[in-house]
Each structure stands twice: as C-alpha cells, then as structure tokens.
C-alpha cells in the first residue's frame, strides 16, 4: 500500500499525524510528510488517516 498527499490541498490540520504518527508528520511548513515505508501493523491506522483527512488531501494508491 502507498499513500500520496495532494500538497495543493493539504492545509496542515494534522489529524493524520494524530492518528498514525509513525507514518505522517507535519514538517516545519506545516505540510504533511509521509514515511517512505509504511510499517507492518500500521495499515489500519493509515487507512483511517486517509479517510479522516478533512480536506481529502490523502489518497491511497
């Protein structure tokens, strides 16, 4: 599974980071950075983060 962020849409609400901190991180500009590898066992949290993004900036590819 891979997750991509639409950086035009991301507003930095940080809900993804709150849900799956091992995978999502807000950088100094307040934009999301996604870990290159999604650790085993994080899949459910990552999918929840994708669903939760308030501006639908995250998609699973």
């Amino acid at each position: 599974m891979k997750v991509v962020v639409d950086r035009e849409r991301c507003e930095g609400h940080g809900l993804c980071e709150a849900i799956a901190p091992a995978v999502f991180h807000l950088d100094d500009e307040g934009l999301v950075r996604i870990a290159a590898e999604i650790p085993a066992g994080e899949t459910d949290a990552v999918l929840a983060a994708v669903r939760t993004c308030p501006v639908a900036a995250l998609t699973r590819s």
Binding site: L15, E29, A56
Partner: protein, 397 residues
C-alpha cells in the same frame, strides 16, 4: 415506476422541541433508513454517518450551488459565497481563506491566542461564578477573530446578532427565519460598509482579501462574501463548542479530572465535544443526478439534508454514541463537514478551543452548574444561551 415503500417521516426537524432535543428524532430517522423522505419539507434526510460522509465526499452529485440552505429564495442571499459554490469557483474562494486560516498559517498566532485565553479565563475564574456563554464563550471568538480580520471596534457589537440571524436563514421560512431576515439584511449592509478597505485595520485578514482582489487572485465582488464568511462562520460554531464543552465537563466531573491528569487527551476531548454536540447540525445539498442510496433512488434536483448531528451519534459508526467519552478520539466525525467544503476555519476553532480549555485546566479543579443551562434555538446551530457555573480554583501555575 417503483412501488416499493420509501422510508419517510413527518418529523419537523426545525420545530422548537426537536431543536431543543434532536436526538430522539435522529434515532427514529436513522432507524427508518439510510435516506429518509421528510414529508413536511419535500426533501430527503441522510441521518447515518456513512451516507453523510459519502455525500460530502461526492460534491459532483451533491452540489452546494444555491443549495446549502433549505429555502431556494434564501439560498440566493448566499450566492457566490464559499459555502454555496461548486468547483472551480469554490476553490479560488477557499484558497483565499486558507491563506490565512490553514493551520500552517496559524502557528504564529497560537502564542497570542493562548495568552488572551489565559487573561480572559483568569478574569472570570477569580469571580468564582460566571456565565460560560456570555462571559467567556461569546467574548473569546469575537475578540480574537475581530482582531484577526482587523474589524474596527465600533463594528463589533452587532456581529453575534448577525451571525445568529444569518444561520437561521439556512432553515425553512419558519418564524425564526422570518424574524431573522430583516436583521441579517440590515446588519450585513452595516457590517460590509464597516469593513470597507479604509476602515479595516492594516495587516489583518480583511485587508489581505482586498489585496488578493488587487492581485486578481479573487474578484472584487468576492471580497464581501469572503468577509462575511470570516465573520459568520467563526462565531456561533466556536462559541457553541466552547459552551457545550463546559456544559459537558460540568456534567461529567470525572472527565474533567481525567483531562487535568492527562493533558494529552485534550485533542481527543475537543473532537468528542464536537461529535457529541455538533455546533452545525445540518446543511443541505442538491442532487445533480439520480443517486442510489440503500436500494432507493433520490431523484435529481432533490434537496438533501446532511444531518451532521445525527451522523455523529450513529451507533453503526460509534460504539455507545450517546456516551461522552473524552478518550474516544473521534477524529473522523463530520462536525466540521468533510471534503471540499470541510470547515475552512476548523484549525482556528481548535486553536481557540484548546487555548480556552488549557487555560481553564490550569486554574479550575471542578466546574459546577449554578443553575439550569438554557438552550439557544437556531435552525441549524446547536448551543446554549446561558450556562451559569461556579468553579473551584487552584492557584495559578
């Protein structure tokens, strides 16, 4: 022509008794179906979480164009505003707001907002007893947002009346709306003229919109609706989430104690407040084509009520939905909507609410009701008119 029976209801979701306590009506609607025809209003309601979420994510089939409120003639009032447009026009407006409102733009404001919260909280808690709504919840977002916009001081006292009246106009043409229309009309003219380019304090969000128009990023005609969006959308929503939070913590002292013991729960706790008592209970959409929901078909051109308040209490989504649980972390509630029209100010709402709650957690050991809370009824907003409390304080840290 299908003859299968369509779930329908004669409930009046805008009646006083339902607005006072909408949850029994929501339960009945959710149990009737995933989409329910509201006979009184010739419209459809989506009372369950999954369908509300899906509809909000499908802005092509569920259009906001002239359809965020119930009444077509009143939707014209909102025409061209960020709530009531579809893409691509919507994205231009939204981007102009996001420039100031996105959380990344808010980080530099946080320390100032925290400081203001500390001062305001200090001034009320030292009195021992106060009204959460009039002394705290209505004061804080108004002063914070008015300063951020650069609203001149004499323009401020009517903002809350305007916001309340404007929200009523999202409902049907009932008595509440009829009483609100002249108020909204008159105050909008006054406020927009007070927010002229020369009146706004330089450096604020209001001036930034005029500058965006100068650069051609937005049209000159879009400045007014965006100023209105800042003013209206940032008031009753935040006010009522702060009011509801304090009411819930007064009713659940163990939750307040748990939060004092573990501040990392604050983020989850505030989302739980918004889930449990969603400040915006309903907005509408209009179908652009036939939409199938749970084996029935909503025809094109139908008005569809997104029952946020009901979706956020849907037992198919939330275990024990009527239990206030600050550890629930309900990050994917629809209290701020979702998708392209998701609340643009939700980051600011969180900053303000976290600031007020943090300041209270520093100073207040327990919150006690000092009298019965009184509801304020609005066609789409849920909140309190009055919440008298006394507080047991600890020394400033």
């Amino acid at each position: 022509m299908s003859t299968t029976s369509v779930p329908s209801s004669d409930v009046d979701i805008f009646a006083d008794d339902v607005l006072t306590d909408p949850y029994p009506a929501y339960t009945a609607l959710r149990e009737s179906g995933a989409a329910v025809y509201l006979e009184r209003y010739d419209c459809w309601a989506l009372p369950r979480y999954d369908q509300v979420r899906a509809a909000l994510g499908n802005h092509e089939r569920f259009s906001s164009l002239d359809s965020v409120g119930y009444e077509p003639s009143l939707n014209e009032l909102r025409r061209g505003g960020v709530l009531a447009t579809d893409r691509p026009e919507h994205d231009t407006l939204r981007a102009a707001l996001s420039e100031s409102l996105a959380p990344r733009a808010l980080t530099k404001l946080r320390a100032d907002i925290d400081q203001r919260a500390t001062e305001l909280v200090e001034s009320v808690v030292t009195r021992g007893s106060f009204d959460v709504v009039s002394d705290l919840a209505r004061v804080f977002p108004l002063t914070v947002v008015a300063d951020l916009i650069g609203l001149p001081p004499d323009a401020r006292h009517e903002v809350l009346r305007f916001a309340d009246a404007f929200f009523n106009t999202f409902g049907p043409l009932n008595e509440r709306t009829k009483a609100s229309l002249p108020v909204a009309d008159r105050l909008l003219d006054t406020l927009i003229s007070q927010m002229s380019r020369e009146n706004l304090v330089p450096g604020g969000w209001g001036e930034a919109l005029y500058r965006a128009a100068d650069r051609g990023v937005i049209g000159e005609h879009q400045v007014g609706p965006l100023l209105r969006a800042y003013l209206v959308a940032s008031m009753d929503t935040t006010i009522n989430s702060i009011g509801s939070a304090l009411w819930l913590f007064a009713e659940h002292p163990q939750a307040w104690a748990a939060l004092r013991a573990d501040r990392t729960l604050l983020r989850s706790a505030f989302e739980e407040v918004v889930r449990f008592e969603s400040p915006v209970q309903v907005f509408f959409r209009r179908t652009t084509q036939p939409v199938e929901i749970d084996a029935l078909t909503i025809p094109p051109g139908a008005r569809v009520a997104m029952l946020f308040g009901s979706a956020n209490r849907d037992p198919l989504k939330w275990p024990e939905p009527d239990t206030f649980d600050i550890g629930r972390a309900p990050m994917d509630h629809v209290g701020f909507g979702s998708g392209v029209h998701a609340c643009a100010g939700q980051g600011l709402a969180r900053v303000e609410a976290h600031a007020i709650l943090s300041a209270l957690l520093d100073r207040v050991e327990a919150i006690h009701l000092a009298g019965p809370p009184r509801r304020h009824l609005n066609n789409v907003i849920r909140g309190l008119e009055s919440l008298p409390v006394t507080v047991t304080t600890s020394e400033p840290a």
